[in-house]
């Protein structure tokens, strides 16, 4: 008998009688009076930064004003922001060519108020490694797309097809050394979210 | 109402004052109290050590001693919890179940059954309350810091009825003192360290007395206080609630 059959047989023999699956839909009701304010507060608390903007021009101006190393490689996955990028993303299955990206600008499907995260899937990223390998990450999300909680986030995701997706909440961080918080463990040292009124 | 008084073995032997105060307090509140003289122990020392199968004798004795009362009251949350959760007898299972449900820890008996709203007690001192784990997390004598639930404290509400008594706030409201039955000797290093840390919290906040609903934890902390030469004393909550004005 293969290990597969062996494990499945042992599990079948030892598992108890079927217990019902709880209904989790009531959690859908949880909301915030001001989801965007909640989002901003949480994102700031976890080391991120949020800007409310009215246009992509504003995004460009803020990026130009706040990153002092733009002579380094800036990668844009947001077509409207391509002109501030060093070059637009070119398809390449190996991510190693991204190792020198200073700033990556991506868009996100939506943001989650309760935890400061954004939901991204690989078709927004060019390559799955983009939001990890860059030194700094900037994200654009529409103000209409703020979900209050993770319950609503998964309702929104539904049965969506993707190869890879992630909730990203703030810059990469660690507190492994004596619980001292350090931003920029392996991934981005900063994360900026532009919430676009449109 | 007739109450059977259940005095745990170590209280009987080492802390008769706590038992006397329990008896007098209940009598003061108009309860008829009977102490069955042949009682010994709830069996917890064996059970918590993994020898619950040796507690049959204690169980039978407990049932023999405490059948027929309206309530059984004890000044120990830990022993009460043990009886509630583990008292059984294969020969008379229903009787064992009935008795297990009749057992009450003293402070919750006062607040929930007698519904005491005032006490003629006075105790002009700063007092720290030790939340014994079995009383708190097992019998729900007070809210627990881990849970998202409303705050309450049955021992605290009773102490608030005592004139001139000042309760001190602790940094860690419900951390274990480290007694743990045979844990106190089997894991001496951690047990003693936990006790020292608990005592230090009370001392830091200026407690003159440390009280609680379980004498075993207090015995542990008393051992540490005495070794440190501290003037701070432990008193079972019954002794404070029974103190004269």
């Amino acid at each position: 008998m293969s290990s597969r059959e062996q494990i499945l047989a042992a599990v079948k023999q030892n598992q108890p009688d079927l217990l019902p699956l709880p209904n989790v839909t009531p959690f859908q009701e949880i909301t915030y009076e001001d989801a965007l304010a909640q989002y901003e507060a949480v994102l700031t608390a976890i080391g991120g930064k949020m800007y409310r903007v009215n246009s992509m021009e504003e995004v460009k101006a803020i990026i130009k004003g706040s990153y002092n190393s733009l002579e380094k490689r800036v990668l844009s996955l947001v077509p409207e922001l391509d002109d501030i990028a060093t070059a637009a993303y070119e398809i390449n299955p190996a991510a190693h060519h991204l190792a020198d990206v200073e700033l990556a600008i991506i868009s996100a499907h939506f943001a989650v108020a309760e935890n400061g995260s954004v939901w991204v899937t690989e078709e927004l990223l060019g390559h799955r490694a983009v939001p990890f390998i860059c030194q700094h990450l900037a994200t654009v999300v529409s103000a209409k797309n703020i979900e209050p909680t993770m319950h609503r986030a998964y309702t929104r995701i539904g049965a969506a097809e993707y190869g890879w997706g992630a909730f990203i909440a703030g810059p990469s961080k660690t507190a492994d050394i004596e619980q001292s918080l350090v931003l920029g463990a392996h991934g981005p040292r900063s994360m900026t979210v532009f919430v676009l009124n449109d | 109402m007739t109450v059977g008084l259940f005095i745990p073995c170590y209280v009987d032997q080492f802390y008769p004052g706590a038992a006397i105060a329990t008896l007098q307090l209940l009598e003061k509140l108009g309860v008829t109290v009977v102490y069955p003289p042949n009682q010994t122990c709830c069996g917890q020392p064996m059970a918590n050590s993994g020898f619950e199968h040796l507690t049959g004798g204690c169980n039978r004795l407990f049932i023999d001693n405490f059948s027929g009362f309206d309530y059984i009251v004890s000044p120990s949350g830990s022993c009460v919890l043990h009886i509630r959760e583990h008292l059984h007898d294969d020969k008379q299972p229903e009787l064992a179940k009935t008795i297990a449900h009749q057992v009450w820890e003293l402070t919750s008996f006062l607040t929930d059954v007698l519904k005491v709203e005032s006490l003629p007690a006075r105790f002009p001192h700063k007092v720290g309350v030790h939340q014994s784990c079995h009383g708190q997390r097992g019998l729900h004598l007070s809210s627990m810091t881990e849970l998202v639930a409303p705050n309450f404290s049955k021992p605290g509400s009773l102490l608030n009825m005592v004139k001139d008594l000042e309760l001190v706030e602790l940094d860690r409201k419900d951390e274990c003192c480290g007694f743990g039955g045979t844990f106190c000797v089997a894991e001496e290093a951690v047990s003693a360290k936990m006790g020292k840390d608990r005592v230090a919290d009370h001392l830091k906040h200026g407690a003159e007395y440390i009280t609680g609903a379980d004498m075993s934890c207090l015995m542990h902390m008393e051992g540490i206080l005495k070794r440190q030469g501290s003037k701070v004393k432990v008193l079972h909550i019954a002794e404070i609630l029974n103190s004269e004005g």
Binding site: I7, K12, P16, L19, F27, A95 | Q13, G50, E188, I224
Partner: protein, 458 residues
Amino acid sequence: MTTETKDHAELAEIFNKDEDRVDWHDETLWWIRAKRDKSVHQLPEWEALREAASGIKHNVLSNLNAYLQEFESAAKANGIIVHWAADAKEHNEIVHGLLAENKVTQMVKSKSMLTEECHLNDYLATHGIEVIDSDLGERIVQLAGEAPSHIVLPCIHKKKEEIGDLFHMYLGTPSNMSDPQFLTETARGSLRETFLTRKVALTGVNFAIAETGEFVVCTNEGNADMGAHLADVHIACMGIEKLIPKREHLGVFLRLLTRSATGQPITTYSSHFKKPRAGQQMHLVLVDNGRSIQLGREDFRNSLKCIRCGACMNTCPVYRRSGGHSYHTAVAGPIGSILAPNLDMRKYADLPFASTLCGSCSNVCPVKIDIHDQLYKWRQVLVKEGYAPTGKKIAMQVMAKTLASPTLYHAAGKMGRLTIKYAPFAVSNKLNPWYKQREMPSSPEQSFGEWYAKNRKK
């Protein structure tokens, strides 16, 4: 009982020789517990979430056979290659086989307590394969030649000066440099090189979704993703109990996991791996290693609900004062103490006794495992199975006999024999563990029973 290794009490005693360090360890973990409290008190629905998570996991355990098959076929349809490992040995062989197949001798690995449980690194080392752990805390203990002392905070037992010394020795930092920012930056540089050069990356799995065949990996550092997205081969290893039925259940678990662990609202990265990248191989190893046996132990089955948040360790007053290594098993603390005896009762017979049964662990557990009740039940099982020391057995038999007889009890009490023989804490001598740091209670002239007989004569 003779054991090759020291037991929890002995290891805890050694840890307690440095009281300042115990205080530091205790306060650090208490601070994390306090952050957890602050975070969960912001959610009025917290207890309902715990209840839901517990219910979902109960359903999973009761239908695990079907969920495993559902997951397997969905994962396969997604292009993931699924492997089954009955035990640690088979798990290690599967991973080694994949490395050999791809002709590589180096691998980068993000945090996986399962691979710790299986001692994968040691196994691969004997086969000439170098593994670099990419989680900063795990990298630190790896450099120190130690095991993680905490499932979420692997090097919580290490002071920054000790870490500075390790980095000086292995990563060439200046001596006496212990600034966390500087040390983290050094590790970042060193590990980035590793990420860019490894062809195979191994990650753990936090949750796997039966319905969709995807799995979720949560990190704060981004190390799992850095490894997986840069490697040609991604191997993910998971215990069979990590399954959950549907995506929507992640809404419950991701809300609970990190708030319980560190007080964060969510980890920085919650990555959903559904399909391999174009040109990438994605392998998933489903590991039993005793889990199906635990599933059959009614009293201990629900320990398999665990989502490895570590909250029970942070709150445990014993763990905080004895350190993770005193549990001499991969998963330390209260949860480890109810998991480990399932794997080896003799080796881990001490662990269920390394607790005061205070119950704080069960209260913080996000999936409502009755941890302290299981500790109590393991004690009964271990004694019945013959793992109690003989001296303790005899003492317990004498105690039970004495306490079951009012005559013996009163006689013993009166003559002080109860105190001497059966209440070990009450003997005032240096050999007695009670007396080492505590005074005995003073002996009153009469017991309450005697007082009552005199004062309440009918």
